[in-house]
Point group: C2
Chain length 341, copies 2
């Protein structure tokens, strides 16, 4: 079985974007804001948007199941206030939930949170609770920079984030650390901001003792961990300078990297440097890089091909595809077991 732990609903029917544009246009005039109930997307429309896109490619590539969350670049937590984010997160999470009900064998939901710059992250807990308890979400996406590239939130080790972590520990769910669109012209969203956030989040964990406070807290760092595996020696050396334990003891009980690295040499480095038990298969399909690599003739984001060609033995490959995800996402494992899988 192949589990893709990193998929976003990037192909939602156009009505979603139209609704969002109306919401954004109403900023400053809340009376003109559209109601959530004004968005109407039928099950057939949802089915079509998935069957022709993600599910088609999953079948072509031989992927069984995707952990499916709202489109990352559309979270745009920097737009509006908590109320705006809250309505938007509610809508997006409901759509992913509905997709998971329409395709229970193929999609399991993960939630975005209604974060808003300068607002206490604890305000996100009701949405988180709803998504886990009512929608069966098995994880959350946590944005370490809801400002969209201005980086004015405290680091992930700050106690301001602890209410989220306490709830994650209680539910035994991991968080993928995933930023959204950059509204800072310095940072291209998918070419700089995403990768920078991955590296930044890892280093925030490295310099802190966050996982001493939360020994069972689990973060998935996407996009192959940003710059981290490529600079693993640098990070090992910095940890040593900072008198921290070896990274395998300090961070690797709690931090996992996905395989959204879009060429063979990158995946070879990832699987060569990072312990296999910390690597989770993912493609972020359909996402930032949709084209065909002229050097291979295959889609850049067809990451299964790289894992197939990586120097790992069959049992290790099974861990990357399935075993690690079952361990890191226990609620996913419970869903699968209930399905007899």
């Amino acid at each position: 079985m192949i589990i893709d732990c990193h998929g976003h609903y990037t192909t939602a029917p156009k009505a979603l974007e139209t609704w969002r544009n109306r919401q954004v246009a109403s900023l400053g005039n809340p009376g003109q804001a559209p109601k959530a109930s004004e968005l109407r997307i039928s099950d057939d429309e949802l089915r079509e948007s998935i069957e022709q896109n993600q599910l088609r490619l999953m079948r072509e590539r031989g992927l069984d199941l995707t952990i499916f969350s709202p489109r990352a670049s559309f979270m745009a937590h920097h737009i509006g206030d908590f109320g705006v984010s809250s309505t938007w997160a509610g809508i997006c999470n409901e759509l992913c939930y509905r997709v998971s009900r329409l395709f229970p064998d193929n999609f399991v939901p993960a939630a975005m949170l209604p974060q808003s710059p300068g607002v206490d992250p604890a305000t996100c807990i009701p949405e988180l609770v709803k998504c886990v308890e009512q929608y069966g979400n098995v994880a959350i996406n946590l944005n370490p920079d809801p400002s969209g590239g201005h980086w004015n939130s405290p680091p992930l080790s700050d106690r301001i984030w602890y209410p989220i972590y306490e709830k994650m520990v209680e539910y035994d769910i991991p968080a993928m650390i995933h930023v959204s669109t950059s509204c800072n012209p310095s940072f291209h969203t998918t070419g700089a901001h995403y990768l920078n956030a991955d590296t930044t989040a890892f280093m925030q964990c490295l310099t802190s003792d966050l996982f001493r406070d939360f020994p069972t807290l689990r973060f998935v760092i996407p996009h192959g961990g940003g710059a981290v595996p490529y600079h693993w020696g640098r990070f090992r050396g910095l940890a040593q300078e900072l008198k921290k334990p070896l990274l395998k003891d300090h961070l690797l009980h709690n931090i996992y990297f996905d395989t959204c690295v879009y060429h063979q040499p990158g995946i070879d480095l990832l699987t060569g440097v990072i312990p296999v038990r910390n690597i989770l298969f993912a493609s972020e399909m359909i996402g930032a890089v949709r084209g065909i690599d002229p050097e291979t003739g295959h889609n850049f984001d067809d990451t299964k091909r790289y894992i197939e060609a990586a120097h790992v033995d069959p049992e290790e490959r099974r861990m990357i595809y399935e075993g690690n995800a079952r361990r890191v996402y226990p609620r996913l494992n419970a869903v699968l077991q209930a399905q007899g899988r």
Copy 2:
């Protein structure tokens, strides 16, 4: 001959830091600012600080020459105004120049600029001119984020930077794109901010047509290019989405990566993915990662060992060590030729 294109004067005599602390303490009371002439460091002190540190390690490791610039983390362009940066840059550049005169066979200077947040980069030109014409500097360090982690300058493709580029082209000198200390608590300086800046700068070039305006402009992206080589497939794919030429045509006539990657797998990826002609030997010694790697028994930053073990043929290795640097830094080549090297 082995040329290290990335060394900073991290071991300057204590008097330098003391002077800087006085300057910082006087912010808001310019009348109390120390004069540049109040800093007195003798040639013997300079000699000792180099002979016992960088030069000792260069000899141990078999490195011949270092392109030597002021300590990157101490540039701290975010502190004070242009006047403060200007005095500070003048002092630091003079020290590197003096080191280069004391050890002409081993150190060739590169300049820091008196950048200041929100100040027109053109104000840096007099210092640049002095450093090239009077001090024999062969390159500059250009900080894409003089705010120290707030990233509120225009991207490197913006015309605000063009006066610097025009001067670089006139002098035929490259710039290493190097940020300084992060004053943003989100970003650890050497573990996040440096690597993020490398990735960010590359992507700013990728999304723009900067090198169409300046076909001979050359940027050295340090720390092995941040996350770029590890995600080379992602960047190739993003360039394709953006209808840009192949990266080898779009950027690799103008962008070079150094070898400050502190473990063998990282260097293997770098040399496997990036054309050898775009790779410049460097160690950033003595820098952020000073310890000994318990996995190898050697210093993390002893990057020559990784290049020796990399899968490149002898001619390619010579290019990484020397040939590429002579081409990318023509004024260095001229110095060497004048020395009969």
